[in-house]
């Protein structure tokens, strides 16, 4: 699963250079996720995808994500990208399951 690049580009395109704004966060998360998903579906591989995006304001608070999966190790996989700027963190993860 080497779509680290795809995810990073999608995040950068949507929120790169912006400061955290509560009113726009809804729109940002959905755009990041939708853009990632459309790039992935363009690859044309026989996979089902789950894409999640977490955007958090920088405040000194801690955040932890973990996932557990029951799948076929030979064909399925996941990828998580951590992105940040001065005012917020963004974590995007993609899970790909072979059909």
């Amino acid at each position: 699963m080497d779509d680290y690049q795809t995810e990073e580009e999608s995040i950068e395109a949507v929120i790169g250079g912006n400061a955290y704004q509560h009113s726009r966060v809804n729109h940002w998360t959905t755009s990041v996720v939708e853009q990632c998903l459309s790039q992935l579906s363009k690859l044309g591989k026989p996979f089902k995808y789950i894409v999640t995006c977490i955007i958090m304001q920088k405040n000194g608070a801690g955040l932890q994500t973990a996932s557990a999966c029951f799948w076929d190790n030979n064909t399925d996989g996941s990828c998580a990208v951590r992105w940040e700027n001065k005012s917020m963190y963004c974590i995007a993860s993609v899970f790909g399951l072979a059909i």
């Binding site: 996720v33 579906s41 958090m56 304001q57 994500t65 973990a66 996941s78 399951l97």
Partner: protein
């Protein structure tokens, strides 16, 4: 997987994923393990990992054969910051689904010092042949 099942390309109605059942599983485990817990940066990685494993095992044993599972757990410390989590899926809407639960904790310690714990757990189920 038994040989008799492999011709099925879609689950029967009885074996279809039921979000309510899974949501209940998630809720039970989360409430049991997290009530009264406070956010501790040292313990949280282990806690979130074991929570995800627990939930995955419980859902596996709930009897949804022919389903792959993905469980994601997000634990955050509440300090007044804004957080937004969202997800999208590319799957077969007829057979695949998800269940999620949000848990918020308020812990009061002596001296009125509070550290809050916010948790969102999501479980996705994907049908496979």
């Amino acid at each position: 997987m038994e040989g008799s099942d492999t011709y099925l390309i879609r689950p029967n109605h009885q074996h279809k994923f039921k979000p309510a059942v899974v949501k209940e599983c998630i809720r039970e485990i989360v409430r049991e393990r997290l009530s009264g817990m406070r956010y501790d940066p040292e313990e949280v990685p282990e806690l979130s990992r074991s929570l995800a494993d627990c939930i995955k095992d419980k859902v596996k044993n709930a009897g949804f054969d022919r389903y792959k599972l993905v469980v994601q757990v997000v634990i955050g410390e509440q300090r007044g910051q804004g957080v937004k989590v969202s997800s999208r899926c590319l799957w077969d809407a007829d057979t695949d689904n998800y269940a999620e639960d949000v848990f918020m904790n308020l812990v009061l310690r002596c001296g009125g010092f509070r550290k809050l714990l916010l948790l969102r757990t999501t479980g996705w189920m994907i049908f496979f042949r």
